[in-house]
């Protein structure tokens, strides 16, 4: 897919990372270590700008997935969002994180909504999924705001720095997303 760029309002832009973003990405992660560590295994393995550069390069090299995108808030990098695609089941999975400073503005929900539009309208996926650790109340609230259905709990399905967490499985189907969007716009 081509490089993404979208102004999603309220001073927030979502766009694909370039290698030039590696220092800003590292600095943001480094400034949010305590905030990220409980949920994100990559907090621990991100030790230098070389690591964020390698991550961005791997995203740029990926033939299908759209994993490497930043969320810019008032001009500065504030978080990340990625879409991985399972071509075998024609489904996608969204993942995201946000710096503590920007919580509570609905930023992640709006970024996800834009990605779901791409997933269902442009990529013609049948289903979108989200996995959230059972204790990650904020992430689970995003799934609820997106109209996703809680479908199960994969026990110990998420690895984090100090063990494994139960993974709540959320899903939404193409027709459900369209109906929800139609209701919202009406």
């Amino acid at each position: 897919m081509n490089q993404l760029y979208q102004d999603i309002g309220d001073g927030v832009v979502v766009r694909s990372y370039t290698l030039d973003d590696a220092p800003a990405l590292y600095d943001l992660i480094d400034g949010n270590r305590d905030h990220l560590r409980p949920w994100m295994i990559w907090e621990k393995t991100t030790k230098s700008v070389d690591d964020t550069r390698m991550f961005i390069q791997s995203c740029l090299d990926a033939p299908v997935d759209i994993e490497g995108n930043g969320i810019w808030v008032d001009g500065a990098l504030g978080g990340g969002i990625g879409l991985s695609i399972d071509t075998l089941s024609n489904s996608g999975e969204i993942g995201y994180w946000l710096a503590k400073l920007h919580e509570g503005r609905g930023i992640v929900t709006r970024a996800c909504e834009w990605f779901f539009d791409i997933a269902f309208d442009e990529l013609r996926l049948h289903r979108m999924e989200l996995q959230a650790a059972s204790g990650n109340v904020r992430s689970r609230a995003v799934a609820g705001r997106l109209g996703m259905y809680e479908e199960g709990v994969a026990r110990d399905g998420i690895r984090v720095a100090d063990g494994y967490l139960d993974s709540v499985q959320y899903g939404i189907l193409e027709d459900e997303w369209r109906a929800r969007r139609h209701a919202r716009e009406a």
């Binding site: 479908e151 199960g152 399905g157």
Partner: protein, 183 residues
């Protein structure tokens, strides 16, 4: 795929990876079970000739972590397939399997899955192994129970099956501590 994988399953059955020379046998068994398998698996639609199976076999990545691309063999007869896919950074493996109708009911898939699970936990450091089976695929779901897995939810429309259709999948899971109690 692991080219060196070779597991005796008892009763003369062996689990071993396909080689390109197996493409004719693989296509023959899929073709003979086409209608039955298409209820659960989209890849049946892609199995159009032996060459399609050569392409599948050659697409297995030899240096990956996954224990995939395996056939269940009884002598020269291919009875089915059983894989353990390992992707991502969560120490999670996912089982998948299918069987020729003529070999149903002998416990072949259960034994093949048990062998792959033991390798996954012991040698690959997996913490969890899961299986997703069509809600109506009662045989697969019975295997999950025999393997000691727990039903954890229903993923709606998560399985692409033959004919461009989608099926709800029951997700089953087991963590390594539970497995240790069963062996």
């Amino acid at each position: 795929m692991r080219p060196d994988l070779h597991i005796e399953l008892g009763g003369g059955a062996v689990l071993r990876p396909y080689t390109p020379a197996d493409a004719d046998a693989l296509f023959g068994v899929i073709d003979a079970n086409r209608v039955r398998l298409a209820r659960w698996f989209h890849w049946v639609d892609d199995a159009t000739d032996a060459a399609s199976q050569t392409a599948y076999i050659e697409s297995r990545v030899v240096d990956g972590r996954s224990l995939d691309g395996n056939g269940i063999w009884i002598g020269d007869d291919l009875a089915g397939g059983c894989d353990l896919m390992i992707t991502g950074s969560d120490d999670v493996g996912e089982l998948g399997f299918w069987l020729d109708e003529a070999f149903v009911g002998r416990g072949l898939v259960t034994r093949a899955a048990q062998a792959l699970m033991a390798r996954g936990y012991e040698r690959e450091g997996l913490h969890r192994i899961q299986l997703r089976a069509g809600v109506e695929n009662l045989r697969s779901r019975a295997v999950a129970k025999r393997l000691g897995m727990r039903e954890e939810g229903v993923l709606r429309g998560a399985g692409k099956v033959g004919g461009g259709l989608y099926a709800d999948l029951v997700i089953y899971g087991q963590v390594v501590d539970e497995w240790r109690k069963t062996v």
